[in-house]
């Protein structure tokens, strides 16, 4: 759904429609620490797909 490349471009500008959508879906605040978290995650994944969400653990 969300275009990874547009998120990368939005991240470079610290804002944008695609980035806002991702932040909203991931339930993250729109602030510097969220942008840094996403940038780090993107770099760690070497630009490939990144999964966001809440981990569900089955007991």
């Amino acid at each position: 759904m969300i275009n990874m490349s547009n998120i990368a471009i939005d991240l470079s500008n610290n804002g944008g429609e695609y980035l806002n959508t991702l932040l909203h879906l991931a339930n993250l605040e729109s602030n510097e620490s969220s942008y840094d978290l996403l940038k780090d995650t993107l770099i760690k994944s070497k630009g490939d797909q990144v999964s966001f969400g809440i981990a569900v653990t089955k007991l």
Binding site: N3, A8, E17, N20, L25, K39
Partner: protein
């Protein structure tokens, strides 16, 4: 409060006209909203602003040739644009083949339904994959009308209704649900015409809409951005480390757009370039490439019906008077501020010559499309023609009628931006030629289009025609058309056709009717 409102609604609406006749519940549609109560639905979908959205025509698909209409709900709470709710009426095509869809779309047998979908899905389909611009018209609804609208959608969604391309389509069904939601009965306009297209809906609501928001197609935005771009060809882009960050962002957008157009998985090499570019781009500031821009021209959708008349001077016969009618999108000489500029499409086109007591059929096309999309740095779409019908042939002696299919395939280049285009096609036409018999006519074709001025357009066609019949000569044919846009989108057309056997000079005056 919601219960009180619901009670009032039950007294106010729900006497739906016959077009809301439901065929059956759409049990296959796995929509969560189908199960929820009216109160839950109201809470989930209540909105601050409703927009009529017009997605520009998509000439590659006949059913989308006149554009698509859907609605967009801006929620009460602040939410990213892509997560707003879109509502459309569309045909259910899951188990229908292309040919069946085409036939049933015209003659009946298709089912359609109102659906609520996230806007990002529609945005991706139309703007990114199908290269269509979007126009958003804010609709002035008061709170009661908004609530009535929501209740109508709640009642109507996920049920099957008859779908027809002509007048039971996205535009007519959306128009109907909007009309049923407004309070003032004098504003309700009839929606029972044989043809109801997006321009009909926009015309009905023109007094209720505010300033439009325009979203250009991603392809056009990227192509425009290439003017200052140092990479000449996307395939030369492997040395990405030398690019500025803004160039890298443009390349990233371009490559992703290009790969999305290919309905196949990316090669590992292509995927690696995209991944690397994403990391580079995210690291420092870029100039964002945005397709949310101001629409500089007038928004105008002309009616599909064009009629006209004129006079035709023939080299070897007395003059004849002409009557013509066209149902379709547009031809080369028409002002296409909103419709795509490189696709000329008629679903029905007829021209009759009248001479003393005689009427002569000059042409009758049941489908006529000429697509002349220029190749660019970003894309290399082919140009093509498909026509089906009857045409009087000046190319051969005694100007016989030919019945059949006329096709062509080739490429177009733009020699001067928005001014001069040159197309080269190879045409192949299996036809039945009156008094000669069946034949396959083929040959090269050169089309030159010149926008002389904003309202003066010229199209010249030169053809060499070969065939397999011994009793038919190979011929050379030239046709020049000059269209001048007069006041109020009325057109004057000068046409000159010449073959080795005869020539025509004609003057026509064409205008739209609703």
């Amino acid at each position: 409060m919601i219960n009180t409102f619901c009670f009032i609604l039950l007294f106010n609406i729900i006497l739906f006209p016959s077009d809301f006749t439901q065929i059956n519940d759409n049990h296959n549609n796995d929509s969560s909203s189908q199960e929820i109560s009216w109160e839950g639905f109201f809470t989930k979908y209540q909105f601050k602003q409703i927009y009529i959205v017009f997605a520009g025509p998509y000439p590659s698909s006949p059913s989308s040739s006149f554009g698509h209409i859907f609605l967009l709900l801006e929620p009460q709470e602040t939410k990213p644009f892509f997560l707003w709710h879109a509502i459309d009426f569309s045909a259910n095509v899951d188990s229908v083949g292309s040919f069946e869809f085409f036939v049933k779309g015209f003659f009946g047998g298709l089912l359609g339904a109102y659906r609520i979908i996230p806007f990002y899905e529609r945005f991706r389909d139309y703007n990114l994959l199908e290269n269509r611009a979007l126009w958003l018209f804010p609709l002035d609804f008061n709170n009661t009308e908004k609530n009535r609208f929501l209740y109508n959608i709640y009642t109507l969604q996920n049920k099957d209704y008859e779908y027809l391309f002509s007048n039971k389509n996205c535009a007519s069904k959306i128009d109907l649900v909007l009309t049923e939601s407004i309070l003032d009965p004098t504003e309700k306009k009839p929606n029972n015409s044989l043809i109801f297209f997006p321009h009909s809906l926009l015309n009905n609501w023109k007094n209720r809409v505010g300033d439009l928001i325009y979203i250009e197609s991603m392809k056009n935005v990227i192509e425009e951005s290439y003017n200052d771009f140092s990479i000449n060809n996307l395939n030369d882009s492997l040395n990405i480390n030398n690019l500025s960050n803004t160039e890298a962002a443009l390349l990233l957008n371009s490559l992703e757009w290009k790969y999305l157009q290919k309905a196949e998985h990316l090669q590992q090499e292509e995927k690696d370039i995209l991944n690397k570019l994403r990391v580079i781009v995210s690291s420092s500031k870029t100039e964002t490439i945005t397709n949310f821009t101001k629409f500089e021209k007038d928004f105008y959708l002309h009616p599909s019906n064009l009629i006209g008349g004129g006079i035709n001077f023939l080299s070897n016969s007395s003059p004849e008077y002409l009557v013509n009618y066209r149902f379709g999108l547009h031809e080369f000489y028409e002002n296409t501020s909103v419709y795509p500029q490189n696709d000329y499409l008629s679903l029905l086109k007829i021209e009759i010559g009248i001479k003393k007591n005689k009427m002569i059929l000059n042409e009758l096309f049941l489908f006529n499309q000429l697509s002349l999309q220029p190749i660019s740095k970003l894309s290399s779409y082919m140009s093509w023609r498909i026509c089906f019908g009857v045409v009087r042939n000046l190319e051969y002696q005694s100007t016989p009628l030919s019945y059949g299919l006329y096709t062509g395939l080739g490429y177009t280049i733009e020699l001067l931006k928005n001014r001069v285009k040159l197309s080269s096609l190879l045409s192949v036409s299996p036809v039945y030629l009156q008094s000669y018999g069946f034949s396959l006519i083929y040959g090269p074709e050169l089309i030159v289009q010149i926008n002389v001025l904003e309202n003066i357009r010229l199209m010249n066609i030169i053809k060499g025609l070969f065939n397999f019949r011994e009793n038919l000569n190979d011929v050379f044919y030239n046709e020049t058309n000059l269209g001048i846009e007069l006041f109020n989108r009325n057109y004057l057309i000068f046409q000159f056709k010449k073959s080795m056997y005869s020539s025509w000079y004609s003057i026509k005056y064409n205008f739209y009717i609703n």
